[in-house]
């Protein structure tokens, strides 16, 4: 039987109270991605007593994750545990009352709806635009509120989205920005306080929503720099009506159709995967080269750019197509692509 005393201090907080706590306990959430953001989200919300927490991540823990991904340990790496499994194992020790489901899988257009259909709220702990737009499509389609968060370097963004009421992610960002405008943690780095702060803000939004305080959700796209302490709140009033959003206005779920997903082809016998973007872009090789030089060896000519980093070797072509060597797994190749090249 639930011992409400463990949530005593949370209940004392007047906005939540025992009523709010009961609502939290009967709520279900999905956290997509269990890295810097996802671990903080999961840890905070499991401790807070959310009834059911599904954690989805396909990756295994690496040593360079421990600097910011709280709850993982060196032992988890030795045991070669997937992130979702390690998180569930650890968090069950902290709060055995919460039902935790670990899903070791990438999130794609075939499974995203299933992963969020039976929950009240979705939290974004992902690291790329493609997955976020996919989440946005699925959440708008199924009417699930979700909280977007993104962090790189010392700076992050968060936005609470309630389909039908607030602008959606595609009202705000029409399409994924080009790779040169989307630094990733793997090329531009990240400091732990940035992800901790942003994830804490997102978890606060989750607590508001789940405790029956939906009216208190922050209506802005909030940006915070932990280094300079610069904050910005972008006001979004009227945006929903002003934009011709394919997702929430036209109910056209382009990412859910799978047509906007990059196409992958496994190259027989090569332990390599070719990735073809659905959009036509022209990569800025100079910019990409300077970005990748920080993490590995790079050489390029007018036809292609070759880089070696983290046990992978990849060749990128001007229209964004790439051959990723060192894996046969299309999902893994996509991860590498979004980490180092960007989507």
């Amino acid at each position: 039987m639930t011992d409400i005393s463990r949530y005593h201090r949370q209940c004392l907080f007047q906005k939540i109270g025992e009523e709010g706590q009961k609502k939290i306990a009967s709520s279900r959430i999905t956290i997509v991605g269990c890295g810097a953001l996802g671990t903080v989200l999961a840890s905070t919300l499991v401790r807070a007593g959310v009834g059911f927490v599904r954690i989805v991540d396909r990756d295994f823990i690496e040593l360079n994750n421990l600097q910011r991904q709280v709850i993982f340990s060196e032992e988890d790496i030795r045991d070669n545990l997937p992130k979702a499994v390690a998180a569930a194992k650890q968090l069950k020790k902290i709060n055995s009352e919460v039902q935790i489901e670990a899903v070791v899988s990438d999130v794609n257009f075939t499974n995203v709806e299933k992963l969020i259909r039976d929950v009240n709220l979705v939290l974004d702990g992902t690291d790329n635009f493609e997955t976020r737009f996919l989440l946005n499509d699925a959440c708008v389609k199924l009417g699930k509120p979700w909280i977007y968060s993104a962090v790189v370097g010392c700076h992050g963004l968060t936005l609470s989205i309630v389909p039908g009421k607030t602008p959606c992610l595609r009202c705000v960002f029409e399409s994924a920005p080009p790779p040169e405008l989307t630094p990733t943690c793997d090329t531009a780095g990240i400091i732990a306080p940035a992800s901790t702060v942003i994830a804490s803000l997102a978890a606060t939004e989750a607590l508001k929503f789940l405790s029956g305080n939906e009216g208190d959700l922050n209506p802005t796209l909030y940006s915070y720099d932990v280094w300079t302490r610069e904050t910005k709140s972008f006001h979004l009033e009227g945006l929903r009506d002003a934009t011709d959003c394919p997702t929430c206005r036209h109910q056209r779920f382009e990412y859910l159709s799978g047509n906007l997903a990059p196409k992958t082809t496994t190259l027989c016998g090569r332990n390599a995967v070719q990735i073809t973007r659905p959009d036509r872009i022209t990569l800025d090789f100079k910019e990409l080269e300077s970005r990748l030089k920080k993490v590995g060896e790079v050489k390029s000519n007018s036809f292609m750019l070759q880089a070696t980093t983290g046990g992978y070797e990849f060749t990128v072509f001007p229209d964004g197509r790439a051959i990723i060597k060192g894996t046969n797994d299309p999902a893994q190749a996509k991860v590498i692509y979004s980490k180092y090249i960007g989507v």
């Binding site: 190259l267 027989c268 016998g269 036809f303 292609m304 072509f317 051959i323």
Partner: protein, 383 residues
């Protein structure tokens, strides 16, 4: 775009193929032979005519022994799995496409058959005597390609067919790379089972293929179902083509294929072959001039068909192919081309080769442009 991937599927198709398919699908595409109405009978007759032109092209005496399939892979599977039984021995070669290798290997792996794979001599040919040497009393099938889809080298199938014909064994030829460019006559070439795609040099659409079944071959059908007659019987009829053709056929595709074959008959296979040979000769001799490029196959173009495989020293075939596509708008193919053992033989495993395969609709100017592109790529990326 310059399309040089005709060995995978021909593109474009003759105009009449598009037009005929469009008209057929709009106006005539009833279920052939299933119903007595005029449209159904008409569609049936179109398919019969397609059988007739194919029979004519390959010297098949009874057109009903031309079976329509999904592609060459389907034809090969119907043949291989329809013929081989527990305890049989089969012979094939390392030149083969996976559509021959995989069905045979799975039968071998399941302990059903024993399998011998022959290697070519240093010129790339399978020697008839080598076939003879491994034939035994249990040998039920000799299955081989007419021409490798990697090197383009044309094999001496008539000589091999002749010696197989002297035994109880059946001779299965994979004519994926030759049907439509090299004359094939099932009687004079001693072919019991001729498998080919409709979508390559016969100019039909993707999703078409055929298998010509000689009278020595007794095939078990593995796709059983509706034929539109004999419905009271719970067993597949033994009458051809129905024995091997259960289900509604790809009538639109078959009608397109018929148009493709008629295009060949009108144009003349000699003329088609001469044009392709000219392009292959040009391609081979111009590529040969480029340093650090290695060409496979034979320079004697009279003994080869369109696929020209090469590698660029210091460059991954996939990368070269991608650059050709993206910086020069040239469609090529790179890798193993589904023929892994051939690449082991050529010592190009596992990276494979870059393959350019000209077709009848390519021009000398296009070949020149392609060679120029390869020259430029090589000068930038090769070591």
């Amino acid at each position: 775009m310059i399309y040089l991937d005709n060995a995978a599927t021909s593109f474009p198709k003759p105009k009449r193929v598009y037009e005929r398919m469009d008209r057929f699908l709009r106006e005539e595409a009833a279920n052939p032979g299933r119903s007595g109405h005029r449209l159904s009978v008409g569609a049936e007759s179109q398919i019969a005519q397609a059988r007739n032109v194919i029979a004519k092209l390959f010297g098949v005496e009874h057109p009903e022994r031309v079976i329509f399939t999904l592609n060459c892979t389907d034809s090969l599977n119907i043949a291989i799995k329809g013929v081989l039984r527990e305890g049989d021995h089969a012979i094939t070669t390392v030149l083969e496409h996976n559509s021959v290798l995989r069905p045979l290997h799975s039968l071998e792996a399941n302990g059903k058959i024993t399998l011998t794979k022959l290697r070519p001599n240093s010129d790339g040919f399978i020697h008839p005597n080598d076939v003879k040497a491994v034939m035994g009393p249990k040998t039920k099938l000799v299955a081989m390609t007419h021409a490798s889809n990697v090197t383009g080298i044309v094999q001496p199938i008539r000589e091999i067919g002749k010696l197989v014909r002297e035994t109880e064994s059946l001779f299965l030829v994979d004519a994926a790379q030759t049907a439509g460019v090299i004359p094939i006559h099932v009687e004079s070439d001693f072919i019991d089972l001729l498998a080919f795609p409709g979508h390559k040099a016969l100019y039909g659409p993707p999703g078409t293929g055929a298998l010509c079944v000689g009278e020595r071959a007794k095939l078990f059908p593995w796709r059983e179902g509706g034929t539109g007659f004999d419905s009271e019987s719970l067993l597949q009829p033994i009458r051809f083509p129905f024995a091997l053709e259960g289900g509604t056929p790809n009538s639109v595709g078959i009608v397109g294929l018929k148009e493709g074959v008629e295009f060949i008959l009108e144009e003349g296979m000699d003329k088609i072959r001469a044009h392709e040979q000219g392009l292959v000769k040009q391609l081979r001799s111009e590529l040969k001039e480029i340093p650090s490029i290695r060409i496979y196959g034979t320079q004697d173009v009279s003994r080869s068909v369109a696929p020209v495989s090469f590698t660029v020293e210091g460059a991954e075939p996939q990368e070269v192919s991608l650059i050709l596509d993206q910086s020069f708008d040239i469609a090529s193919r790179a890798g193993l081309h589904c023929a892994p053992l051939m690449h082991r033989e050529l010592k190009t495993f596992p990276q494979g080769t870059i393959r350019l395969s000209p077709g009848y609709f390519n021009t000398a100017g296009e070949i020149q442009t392609a060679v120029r592109a390869i020259r430029e790529i090589r000068s930038q990326i090769a070591v």
